[in-house]
């Protein structure tokens, strides 16, 4: 594994880890039992994916997935800002999930054809899970957008609030360009058209209107995060930090 590939695996692993963590915050508190179970399924899938990507990312330096998850500070995390957004109401959680899932499925589908066998193998497994995730989150976005006046208003508010965090998923950088040239990863920008098409269709069906602004917050992949990440890590890493000599 080259440094570039480790860094890219870290981005994928951190996306999955942080989003899984956010979903796990709902466990026991979702609006219906069926939702509690389904959302936890997604959280578990993402947690499993995080484990695989982080193992890959840490292998060269001899760091375990746990070392990476529990012993890095916020500035060393490489996830997109979208996934660290606080849960908000259930509509925000579902909208965040849909924006991510619609990107994730395109990214994993391309990565499953990677020239790097390690990447391709993990992506192929994760793609099957992501296909279910996006089917579920798209259905819920449509149903709630097209549900009652209140559910529509909540989903529109969620879309307005989260839209500026979606663009970062498609921003390329030097690392992305180098790996794309090697045929290891898709160029970030190359995923945009498919995402625009699929989300456009879903939002139309949901009677939701994406904001016109193309402004996108960015910085996650460079370790410049929002204020939301620190408290999440403080909670997640508490035991490992408080009892560094313990095994669990």
């Amino acid at each position: 594994m080259t440094d570039d590939r480790c860094e890219y695996a870290l981005r994928l692993g951190d996306n999955a880890l942080i989003l899984s963590h956010r979903l796990s915050e709902w466990c026991g508190h979702a609006p219906a039992l069926e939702e509690d179970i389904a959302l936890t399924n997604v959280a578990l899938d993402l947690l499993g994916q995080a484990q695989l990507w982080l193992e890959l990312a840490g292998a060269r330096e001899g760091r375990s997935a746990d070392d990476l998850a529990y012993r890095r500070d916020a500035g060393a995390f490489r996830n997109a800002l979208l996934v660290e957004r606080p849960n908000g109401d259930y509509g925000h959680t579902l909208m965040r999930q849909y924006l991510f899932d619609a990107w994730h499925i395109e990214a994993l589908s391309a990565l499953s054809r990677s020239r790097d066998a390690g990447f391709a193998e993990i992506a192929a497994k994760a793609e099957k899970e992501a296909a279910y995730h996006v089917e579920r989150s798209a259905e819920l976005v449509v149903a709630l957008g097209d549900g009652t006046h209140e559910s529509h208003a909540r989903m529109q508010a969620a879309l307005d609030a989260l839209w500026p965090y979606a663009g970062e998923l498609f921003l390329g950088d030097a690392l992305d360009a180098r790996l794309a040239a090697e045929g290891v990863v898709p160029a970030a920008t190359s995923l945009r058209a498919a995402w625009d098409a699929s989300t456009g269709a879903v939002f139309a069906q949901a009677t939701l209107t994406p904001p016109a602004s193309a402004f996108a917050h960015k910085g996650g992949r460079a370790g410049r995060h929002s204020e939301a990440l620190g408290p999440l890590l403080a909670q997640m890493q508490f035991l490992q930090r408080a009892y560094p000599d313990a095994t669990w």
Binding site: S24, C27, H29, A43, D66, G147, A246, W248
Partner: protein
């Protein structure tokens, strides 16, 4: 146990029964299963609704004390195990609500009774989980105590409840092993971890014993349930079995059961042990345990905050149905 205080009247003697009731009792005595559409005494139906409902509520409220540690689980694997476990509990709640629905009550009605305080859930979930070792103690002791009661219920007389129990018991015994594994790791870990494990046992021991309900001397309400085979063993029988199973496990872990009177009694081939504080038990059941208000408050909040979501889905489903019918 997950249904601790389901009162029924004294068992009817055969001469007090109607012809239909006698035939019903005879079926139960022959070990037949009663199925939803079949005739059953009204009191049998009502008792089962209370019992299965309490059990379902216990699973749902029981998600909360363990859910409290999901976001602080110390490794990715421990987090996955705990998430999956709490998810299983939601699943248990779901099939128990379904089992109760076969008796002619809806899930929404049962949930409304939980939220209004008309129906109870197990007292154990009103105790807080204060350290990571508590997650082990809940699996080891609380699931252990639950299994003790639920294994015999796989043979209970009501078909849907018995079948739900078969599936639940399989998962519960898995959870118990995971809990024991977690607390073993703590008991053999650093001095701080060991102290957390001992503290967890200290706090969860007596509340676990309370899970079996009041002593048989006090519990005069179970004769009819036993005749109907919706309760198989007495509270004290199960409590004794639990103590006899658990004490050697605690010794193996190097932990001390917080009971000075605990001693092996060679004559009865079982342990003598102290009763829990029944005053405390009744206070917790009344609503004055350490977490009652927080637990119920969290459930009510989840339900109320989710109303728009459920209404939205229902409205969309109705529109879709309407559109389909118009097209046909």
């Amino acid at each position: 146990m997950y249904a601790q205080l389901v009162k029924t009247s004294r068992a009817k003697a055969p001469e007090e029964m109607s012809e239909q009731e006698r035939a019903f009792q005879a079926r139960i005595d022959r070990g037949e299963k009663i199925e939803p559409k079949e005739w059953m005494p009204e009191e049998y139906r009502r008792t089962l609704i209370r019992q299965i409902g309490q059990h379902a509520h216990s699973e749902i409220v029981g998600q909360l004390p363990e859910g409290n540690w999901i976001t602080r689980a110390p490794t990715l694997q421990r987090k996955a195990i705990l998430l999956a476990k709490v998810q299983d509990e939601a699943g248990h709640g779901l099939y128990l609500y379904c089992a109760a629905e076969t008796l002619g009550i809806s899930r929404d009605e049962l949930i409304a009774m939980l939220h209004s305080g008309k129906m109870k859930y197990s007292s154990i979930f009103n105790y807080p989980t204060l350290t990571w070792a508590d997650i082990g103690a809940v699996g080891w002791l609380v699931d252990g105590a639950a299994i003790m009661n639920q294994v015999p219920l796989q043979r209970c007389s009501y078909g849907p409840y018995a079948r739900a129990m078969v599936r639940i018991c399989k998962e519960e015994s898995f959870h118990q092993r995971q809990g024991y594994d977690l607390i073993s790791k703590m008991a053999r870990g650093t001095p701080e971890q060991k102290a957390m494990a001992q503290d967890a046992l200290n706090r969860f021991w007596y509340p676990s014993l309370m899970m079996f309900g009041p002593s048989d001397k006090e519990s005069v309400h179970s004769a009819q349930s036993m005749a109907w085979r919706i309760k198989i063993n007495t509270n004290d029988e199960l409590r004794q079995k639990f103590v006899d199973q658990t004490v050697p496990q605690a010794h193996y872990l190097g932990l001390t059961v917080p009971d000075d009177k605990l001693a092996w009694n060679e004559d009865k081939r079982a342990y003598d042990f102290s009763e829990p504080d029944w005053e405390e038990f009744y206070a917790v059941v009344r609503g004055d345990g350490p977490c009652n208000r927080d637990r119920l408050g969290a459930r009510v909040k989840a339900w109320e905050d989710g109303a728009w979501f459920r209404d939205g889905l229902a409205a969309h489903a109705a529109k879709t149905r309407g559109a389909k019918m118009a097209a046909e």
